[in-house]
Symmetry: C2
């Protein structure tokens, strides 16, 4: 790794030494960033050989730029789905919380924190006026005030996944008190929040997850029913859990499970299509076959809407503020599965895709 | 057929004789209705042995009732889809235009016309105050003023299929000038109207139909492109017809064709799901498998909505009036495929399901 200065080493150093005055010169010429590069497109489930850990020197800062260092990097299912839109080799996409180490940009002072689509890299140089976030599409911006909460929540319950749950459920499903809400991928970053928000709205909540322990845990979060889709027959179990039918479905997975849910929806039911993890590993041109969704959609006059949370960018802060208030007052629990070490990002990512996390999967750099 | 008095014979008789005064007594005791009964549920594509032509005596009129005689009976794809919701044997469901032969109900005077879900029968006795239309769900009501138009349009362009096209396209797809609208089942009763309405709104219109002659005919109606899905490769042909992608999709068929269309939709595209003829003949529990729709819905943030036109019952007359105005001024052509004879209803129905009609399939009793 040669001259590479690890972020943890730097953090240790900087907390013991008051070196802010001499940092600028040192960084501007000497910082090398580590980054995880996707060297070939995923073919089915991701594997270690798809990734390579590389280093790159960062240029010295120009006016209007700042240098930041990753503190938390988020691994999320969309990262599997989006990479085919890029050319390989590519630095893996992803949100991170980072600390500004050096700045020639007044809005991003040294020591402040940012959050945004900086990818799987330890350090980055950014110019906010030119930062459009890329395909993700999340530009890097000052981190919202996190109070006593871990800054990791800025890429979790109080950031993109939180707003995904908040706006996706409330704007597309529009659940009302007394209705039944089903969530798939219920133990994941978004699903756990969706279920808890739906409980706040007075709904009966049914979650599908992939293990008995996840289901037990979901019940402790307030889910009325949790179904292990790997051991139960989803149609039958759902009929028992929701004998009056399903009004809202927040779908993170797609596939046969979603068919089972949609066939039990009530007239004018609403489906927020947030993810389709059952299809992310399909080879191009050979998508998984499932029963024609049109039949239940037609017979019950359902409304489905696929969404990417960036459509609510003009209301972003509203979602963050509300989610943070709920996490702070303890009425929503924002669980995390934390993997330590930048070098373990691929493992954290693949573990998340395999369902090994409960709640938000995040890597502490 | 015994004492059965055919409707045509009666029409001939009644036009030559002034028998209105003596009709009441005659009908009240003597009218027998012919009806087509579904004796077993369809198993795959409908066949003649699924139907039986039967006769039944009608009861004498009570206060508040009227007796009517079918003039036009409509055959529509939904009739294939809805029958599993009933118990066999059942009189086949369907809309008809009928003439009031005798009345003890002031709002339905003798000689007036009605339209509604009277099913495949020559005669019926109805009490409007108790008529909720059944599952169809179209109650029988006085026929709207049809001016110089054929009354058959009251079950076509100026009735249920017309409103299906009008509201489905305008309320769910909400096309705007310059957008590209795709219609499947384009040569059918609803599809032909959808395409013509979309042209009125300034859209580029692409229709999918099942023969070259239908496609030629669609172009004469103003469709910009018409694709024979049986001979062309839908994906490639659509890419050529709509190189800028598809904004709105009015879907009558579902299945693989719909997948091809949805994979070429633009961001925030809208899909009105009107029918799913590709799935109507599937056996229960063994629905046709297609690639997971969730992927294109998600990546382009599409909105799909299944609908049954009765949801706009409070605006029904608006649709009828507008469609009639457009048909009357010649700006929308309401083509019909007419089958003569009540006895040929099953043939007309099966022919329509096999795509032998262009425009509205209707039976002249």
């Amino acid at each position: 790794m040669g001259t590479f200065l690890t972020s943890r080493l730097w953090t240790n150093l900087s907390s013991h030494l008051n070196v802010s005055r001499i940092r600028a010169a040192a960084y501007s010429s000497a910082v090398r960033s580590r980054k995880w590069v996707l060297v070939q497109h995923f073919d089915g489930f991701p594997k270690h050989t798809d990734f390579e850990l590389r280093e790159e020197p960062l240029p010295g800062l120009k006016d209007g730029e700042y240098l930041c260092e990753a503190e938390w990097i988020s691994v999320d299912p969309y990262q599997r789905a989006y990479t085919p839109n890029y050319q390989v080799p590519m630095t893996m996409i992803g949100l991170q919380c980072a600390r500004v180490l050096e700045s020639r940009c007044p809005d991003y002072p040294e020591g402040s924190y940012v959050v945004g689509g900086l990818g799987w890299r330890t350090h980055a140089v950014r110019n906010p006026s030119r930062d459009e976030g890329g395909l993700l599409p999340f530009a890097t911006a000052p981190m919202p005030e996190m109070g006593a909460l871990s800054r990791s929540h800025a890429v979790g319950a109080c950031g993109m996944p939180g707003n995904t749950a908040y706006f996706g459920l409330l704007e597309l499903c529009r659940p009302t008190a007394g209705e039944t809400v089903v969530v798939s991928g219920a133990a994941g970053a978004v699903g756990t929040l969706v279920g808890q928000i739906a409980k706040k709205k007075g709904c009966t909540v049914v979650g599908f997850a992939g293990s008995d322990s996840k289901c037990d845990w979901l019940r402790t979060l307030g889910f009325d029913h949790a179904i292990n889709y790997k051991t139960a027959k989803p149609s039958r179990a759902l009929r028992e859990a929701a004998p009056g039918g399903v009004d809202c479905y927040f779908d993170n997975v797609g596939g046969w499970l979603s068919d089972a849910v949609m066939c039990q929806m009530n007239l004018f039911g609403r489906v927020a299509l947030c993810g389709c993890i059952a299809g992310y590993n399909d080879p191009p041109g050979r998508r998984t076959l499932v029963p024609m969704l049109q039949m239940p959609i037609l017979s019950q006059q359902l409304r489905l809407e696929g969404f990417i949370v960036s459509r609510w960018s003009d209301r972003w802060q509203e979602g963050v503020d509300q989610m943070r208030a709920w996490v702070e007052d303890g009425s929503i629990r924002a669980e995390e599965t934390i993997t330590e070490g930048f070098e373990n990002l691929p493992d954290a990512f693949m573990g998340m895709l395999a369902g090994q996390n409960t709640g938000k999967a995040v890597v502490k750099v």
